[in-house]
Symmetry: C2
Subunit: 216 residues, 2 copies
């Protein structure tokens, strides 16, 4: 069985091709007609594959869309683990997010390429995809919890609390950016505000909600 260096073997190559064929057929159809308006049977047909085979590659219809984001699920956790010594986890996450803004990483919500925006809109329009994104968020929380525990020497509950706050805030920032771009604001114009908002948000995380004025 051992192919030592170059080739993945014909079988593996074909599998990979089939996989991308299915995925691309799916995205194309979904973007054109909407997620809920296209059945998996249609996707399978477009990819020239049986329905059964489609489900051998992607466990659910939603995964046809979301599998592309799989890497991002553990991204924050990896950033925390890889932070330089004597750096606070939060600082590392903040720098990473700011870098994401600079590079217009779609995960920051600050990418206005039509393709990206359309995918985003498609997700928002399909409740089951939104639900899937929530599971995603949960995964990110868990990964971050573990990363914090293993690299910051804090109790488990504290790690969990910090993780859920960090993930929630970052998600909220991204949603806010994406919302504004959906309204037509170009990424370039939004950038400065996005940075300011991110810094505000991370400062809130660092310093707490005390500043929320009491009413009366």
């Amino acid at each position: 069985m051992g192919v030592v260096d170059g080739k993945p073997g014909l079988r593996e190559r074909k599998k990979q091709r089939t996989r991308t064929a299915i995925s691309e057929a799916a995205i194309t159809l979904f973007l054109e007609h909407g997620f809920n308006q296209v059945s998996v049977a249609q996707v399978a047909e477009a990819a020239e594959v049986s329905k059964r085979t489609l489900f051998a590659y992607f466990p659910t219809k939603e995964d046809l869309v979301v599998h592309r984001l799989a890497d991002h699920e553990t991204e924050i956790a990896r950033v925390v683990r890889a932070r330089p010594p004597r750096t606070a986890p939060l600082a590392a996450v903040r720098e990473h997010f700011l870098k994401g803004l600079r590079e217009r990483d779609p995960i920051t919500g600050l990418n206005d390429h039509p393709q990206v925006r359309r995918v985003h809109q498609m997700i928002l329009d399909a409740p089951s995809l939104v639900a899937r994104m929530d599971r995603f968020k949960t995964g990110a929380e868990q990964a971050l919890t573990q990363a914090l525990q293993e690299t910051a020497d804090i109790p488990e509950l504290t790690a969990r609390l910090a993780a859920v706050q960090i993930v929630a805030v970052q998600w909220a920032l991204a949603q806010d950016n994406a919302e504004r771009l959906a309204y037509g604001e170009p990424a370039g114009e939004r950038y400065a505000g996005a940075v300011k908002d991110a810094e505000h948000a991370f400062s809130l995380l660092e310093n707490g909600l005390r500043q929320l004025t009491p009413r009366g």
Copy 2:
């Protein structure tokens, strides 16, 4: 039975009875055999109602379980709105949560009545129910965002950021409590720790994550 007090009208009363009949049949069957092991057709039959009628009362299978929690979705928002003058929103939420712990409100995760625990376990065992709870959380965030904006005079983004943090933390606390009870710890014994943890969590929320030690 009494015929005199006919304020709601026969039609309304019958509807209400049908509704609770369906709901109770559902809970009973789900607790006995598991959420995924019981079909809505079986629930309908047990409630002596057609499948179509069941879906006229509850839009999805999951709602058969979670409709009982509908009130809690806006609970935090209401607490914030109803707080006494010159009180910080966060303080109001904290006091409310601590009161929930004292009263063993199931939403704090600190209720170990068998019925409550079984429902909780049932939800955890069914991914679609977990997803539904996430939507719930989102609803709570939105309601709280609005409440904060309207009563605390802060910008929208700040309100959103605060809201997601608060909801996330409270949720994490409840999950932690429920997890421990699931392991067999009685609510009475857990209470002190739960209070301590809650105070820790709210202090973290108030004062920020600065205290997270840098490594190196």
